[in-house]
Structure formats: C-alpha cells, structure tokens
C-alpha cells in the first residue's frame, strides 16, 4: 500500500514538473524497463456511448502510466472486421492485445491466432474460450444483486415491482439471474409488469412504455431497471405521472447525467450500482501488463461494483463522475490486477 502511494506521489510529481515520462521505468520488470518499445492494441467491438468512451479513457490512462504504445482498433459492431483487426494487430507486431467485447464465434479463432503468434491476450466481456486468455469482467450479477439488496433494505421483503428487461443481451441476462433469484427467495415480492426496449433513444422509448405500465398497474412501488438508460426512461415516466413520492427506482450503471437525474429534487431514482468503466479499462491494461512481465494472473479478473445511493450523492454534493471518484475511493480504483511495481494513472 505504502509503496503504491509513493508511486502515486512520484507520478503526480512527474506530471507537475511537466515530464510526461513513465513513472520510474527502471523499477519495472522487463519488458517495461523500456516501455516505449512495448506495443499493445485494443480491439473494440462496441464503442458508442458513455460507458465505452469511459472504458477507453481508462485504457489510455493506464497505458500512459506504463508508458507503452497503445493502438486502438475500432470495429463498430462488425464482427468480421473485428477478427480482421486482430490479424492486423498481429501483423503490426504488437506485444499484447486487449479484446473488448465481440462474439465468441468470431473472436475465438482470431484470439487463438494471436496466442499462437506469441502475443499475450486479455479479453473484456467476451468469452473466447481459451485457457491462455484471462477474462476481465464487471460482475453484472453483483451489480443487480447489490441494487436489489438495497431495495429490500428500503422496502422489506414485500413489495410490488415493475421490471425493465430485454432478453438476449448478455449483461442484462446476467443481471436478470440475480432478479430471478431474489424473487424466488422472497415470495413477498411480486412482479406485476415486465417491459423494456432498446429502441433508440432508449430513455424516450422506455418512458413511453413505463407510462402505460404505471397506468395499468397503480400498485407498483418499486421499479427495478438494471441499466441506466432504462432507469432514466422510467424516471421520466414517474415524473410525468406525478408519482415521485410513491415509487423508488433501483438501477445499475452510472454517468454524470445519471448523477444529475438522481439528485433532482424529489427524484424517484434512489440507488444505482456501478463499476467505473474507466477502472475496468485500467484493470484490462494492468492484467495484460502482468502477463507481459511474466506474472501469474487469475483466469477471471472481476472488478467489484459499488453501491451509490441518492443520499450519499446529496450528502457529499457529488456533481459528476470525477467527484464521485474522489468521494468514493473504491469507485476510483479497484485493487485488482495489482503488483508492487505497477504504476497507476495520476489522479
């Protein structure tokens, strides 16, 4: 711990003196004793939206802290192109590749080709079914579970719920598992309505649906919307129906805009659970760095989520994601994939 603080200080000092040099490169094991010669690639499947933007910034910051050369390949939801991009990265002679999302079917052979070429590979939120490739993931199950625990703490084990869900989307399916378990364990919880859509703008479409659901089911007092776009839509509908006092919304994920929505006066959105996407990005790079340095990594690197309540945001006057990180240190940094030589991004 102490050493890491020192490193952080050193990082801050390096930044303060204007030298963008990696922190004490000579302290790092090979190949990071000459980090500028280390080339890594991020091959993305999904990139549009706040979450992916923030993930990218985490990857960039951790790479900068290490001093390595980062190349970003963006396939924009084209599975075939993403596989080609892995091959491009191999041809480019990179030392490590981070695969961010994608389809198992298309990425499995591509990832295997990279491993065969002697390249270290880390996968984020995509299962490439390869023992040599550790999987970084945010625990979607835990996200939903923590939010539901909070709902039970606030409302007891008997409440009437509306549930927003679109099946077939992997993270939402994993979140759904938690909901099904909680319902099973608490027969007092009744789900009277399930709805949801990914028509974009999602918040607007979900708001339209939620309006009719609230009209048809006036007994609902808890809305479980385990995705922030869903929660935003439900909140619009609750506001429009004038039910802010009667309904509590529990969700997952967080962004600056979400913080503002949760903090509006009389907001029905009382709690969300989130993993900082930027931390997930940092963890992905650190995992890769550990592999490059020849250290052991876990096969599943899980970044733990954090509960964020409306009360906490109000008490600490949190306005945006940066302030959230300052006030909630476990949101700013996850003690995952850490070694004593690992430099952290300056904060």
């Amino acid at each position: 711990m102490f050493r890491r603080h020192l490193l952080k200080l050193a990082g801050a000092a390096a930044l303060a003196t204007g030298t963008a040099l990696p922190i004490a490169a000579q302290d790092m094991p090979a190949p990071f004793d000459a980090p500028e010669d280390v080339k890594i690639a991020l091959v993305r499947y999904l990139s549009t939206g706040d979450f992916f933007q923030s993930y990218l910034s985490g990857v960039e910051q951790q790479s900068e802290a290490l001093g390595v050369d980062l190349r970003v390949f963006d396939s924009r939801q084209d599975a075939a192109l993403q596989a080609d991009m892995v091959d491009q990265a191999i041809a480019l002679g990179v030392d490590g590749i981070i695969i961010q999302h994608g389809l198992t079917e298309s990425m499995k052979p591509a990832a295997q080709r990279a491993v065969d070429a002697g390249i270290k590979v880390v996968a984020f939120d995509v299962n490439v079914e390869n023992e040599a490739i550790p999987q970084v993931e945010q625990s979607d199950y835990m996200l939903a579970k923590l939010a539901l625990d909070q709902a039970i703490e606030d409302h007891g084990t008997e409440f009437t719920a509306g549930y927003v869900y679109v099946p077939g989307i992997a993270p939402l399916d994993r979140r759904d598992t938690a909901w099904q378990e909680v319902k099973e364990a608490n027969p007092g919880i009744t789900e009277v309505a399930q709805f949801g859509t990914l028509d974009n703008p999602i918040a607007n479409s979900v708001a339209n649906q939620a309006r009719s659901v609230l009209q048809a089911n006036p007994t609902i007092n808890v809305m479980f919307a385990p995705y922030d776009e869903f929660a935003k839509g439900v909140k619009i509908a609750v506001d429009e129906a004038g039910l802010t006092q009667d309904i509590d919304i529990y969700s997952a994920d967080v962004s600056t805009a979400d913080i503002a929505a949760m903090r509006e006066s009389d907001s029905a959105w009382v709690a969300t659970v989130a993993t900082n996407p930027s931390v997930v990005g940092e963890v992905s790079v650190r995992t890769l760095a550990m592999m490059l340095a020849g250290e052991e990594t876990e096969s599943n690197v899980i970044v733990p989520p954090t509960l964020i309540t409306q009360d906490f945001l109000n008490e600490n006057d949190v306005q945006n994601m940066d302030q959230l990180g300052e006030k909630l240190p476990q949101f700013q940094h996850a003690d995952v994939a850490m070694t004593d030589w690992m430099p952290l991004p300056a904060r």
């Binding site: 990139s47 859509t197 607007n204 339209n208 309006r211 659901v213 009209q215 048809a216 306005q319 945006n320």
Partner: protein, 337 residues
C-alpha cells in the same frame, strides 16, 4: 355492384374502423386504457415521431424521400444540449440554432438532389451518416449533461434552462388539471398546419403536381427545383422541432443514431397512405398513422406483451396498410400516383 361498393367502403373507411376496433378492444382488455390520461400519453408517445412523419410527408408529396430526419432530430437534440450546457446560451438561442440547423440540412439535401442530381435516397442517406458522425465530434462521443468534464479539463457549468424543459414537460389544463403536454399541442398544431398547407394552398397543390408528374408541372411553369428544395427544408425543420422536444423531455443530450425515429416516422407516413383511401401522402393520414401505431404499442405494453411483439405488430400494420393502398386501390382503378 354491391361488391364494388363494399370494396370502396373498405378502402375508404377500413383503416379507421380497424382503429376504432382496436381502441374498443384495448379498453375492454387492458385496465386503465380507456381514460383521458391514457389517451393523452398515447398522443405524447407519438408526438415526436408524428412531427418527423409530417416532415417526411412533405418530401413524399414531391416524390422524394428524406432518410436524414432521424439524424437531424438527434443532431438537434445534441445541438440544443451543447448550446445550453457547454456554450451557456439561452433557451431561445438554442431553439433558433436548432431550427436553423434543420433548415440548413434541408437546404443542402435539396441542393444535392436538385442541383447535383444525386438521387434522393442516396443524398439523404449520406446526410444521415454525416450527421450521426458530426453530432459526436464536439463532445468526442460523450453524452452532454451538466457537470460533464470538457476536453480542456474544465467542467460544463451550463444547465438546461427551465424555459426549455417547460417545452417538453409542461402540461396544460384541459378538462383535467395538468393534462395535455406541450409536445402534443405542438404536434397537433403542426399537423393542422401541414394539412392546410398541402391540401388548401396553391403551393401545396403545386407540390402534389410535382409529385405526380414533375415534367408536366415544370412545363406549365412551376419552379420545380425551388419547391423540391422547400420540401426538404420543411422536412429538416420539422425534424429539428422533434429533436428540440425530445431534448426538452430527456433533459440531456443523449448520443443516439435516431434510426428508430426514422423508421417509426416513415412507417407512420406510409400507413397514412391508406387512411380514407387516399393512396398518396397526406397530413391527416400521417397523423392518423402515427396515432394508430401509438395506440397499438401502448395497449400491448399495458397488456404486458414482450417487446419483440411490438416490432412484429408495427410491421404487420405497415404491410396491411400497404396492401390497402396498392392492391385494393389498384382494383378500384385509381391506384398509384
């Protein structure tokens, strides 16, 4: 002859009867459907796509097509948010900027089509991609909200002004207190406006003339190019109005491609062909078409139907409407245009 009259009746009123039947069915089957509040939020849910659909109707009238409306709407959404949150302009300025942007996009679309002879679908398709990319450039792909960090490291201090949010959220008293949201009023005003314009003004009728036979209209001295450009400008402005209302409802600048807005509004306009057996684009039909889809979706949601049934139902309605328009009308001998 009885058959013929039945057919004519079916073409003319079939769709409206179907609509009435649906309302009756949902009133009986879904608790809470038959109430003034529920009627109002059906209207609210279709207000924005309806406004876009009315815009695209104008381009359909001149035998064109505007694929960029969804992207124009989301660009207006981002632009209004950017103007208020980052540039800290007033609500009025933000709205003016959005309308100008819509008109400018329409003008460019029109010029591409008329002057540069780019086919309408291709020109507006290009514009769609251009705008989807452009709206992300100023914020580097992030959504816009108060308190967001800007690229230069500072924090955005501006807020959505309450006047602006009022546009999307205020409710007028109408029989019941706080009943009718402003977007619905805007939608109805625009619907009446476009209906009067297309059906009862010289300009509107000339636009129909251009749509049915461009060369003939040109030969009798209609400034075809000018009218076509005007149609795209109307479409662009309508789309930006829709985007402004969307921003006012959401209260943030959301990154979105607007593809669903495009598809829903085009569907509404095409369903509109079938209303009253018009077999051509018309404002009344478009508004009814939007309402039809809205009622179906709200009713299904209230009955807990899963989301994928909604796309299915939307598609089915569209197909039935197109059959009404093209098959039945051609049998009647006045089909097509």
């Amino acid at each position: 002859m009885g058959n013929e009259r039945l057919l004519n009746f079916a073409i003319k009123y079939g769709f409206l009867i179907l609509l009435a039947g649906l309302i009756l069915y949902f009133s009986l089957a879904a608790p809470g459907f038959a109430s003034p509040r529920s009627a109002v939020f059906v209207l609210q849910s279709v207000a924005i796509t309806g406004i876009l659909a009315l815009g695209v109707t104008c381009t359909l009238v001149v035998d064109g097509f505007d694929l960029s409306i969804g992207a124009v709407a989301t660009s207006a959404l981002m632009l209004s948010a950017y103007a208020m949150v980052v540039l800290e302009l007033s609500a009025g300025m933000a709205i003016v900027l959005c309308l100008l942007m819509g008109a400018a996009v329409g003008l460019v679309n029109g010029l591409l089509i008329v002057k540069f002879r780019v086919p309408d679908l291709l020109a507006t398709l290009g514009m769609m991609f251009l705008l989807i990319g452009l709206q992300r450039i100023p914020t580097q792909g992030n959504s816009i909200a108060t308190g967001m960090s800007l690229p230069d490291g500072s924090t955005a201090e501006g807020t959505f002004s309450s006047t602006f949010l009022w546009l999307g959220r205020h409710r007028l008293d109408f029989f019941l207190e706080n009943l009718v949201p402003l977007p619905v009023v805007v939608f109805l005003l625009i619907a009446v406006g476009i209906w009067l314009f297309l059906g009862f003004t010289r300009q509107g009728r000339l636009m129909y003339a251009i749509g049915s036979n461009e060369r003939a209209a040109g030969l009798v001295g209609t400034p075809v190019s000018r009218y076509k450009i005007m149609a795209y400008m109307i479409s662009g402005v309508m789309a930006s109005v829709g985007g402004v209302l969307l921003a006012a409802r959401l209260g943030r600048g959301d990154i979105a491609s607007g593809t669903n807005l495009l598809l829903d509004s085009v569907a509404a306009a095409l369903i509109g062909f079938a209303v009253l057996g018009a077999a051509r684009p018309n404002a009344f039909g478009t508004a009814t078409g939007a309402l039809f889809v809205g009622i179906l979706l709200q009713g299904l949601t209230m009955m807990n139907a899963p989301y994928y049934t909604q796309d299915f139902v939307k598609g089915a309605v569209l197909v039935i409407a197109l059959v009404f328009t093209f098959y039945l009308s051609s049998r009647r001998g006045v089909g097509g245009h």
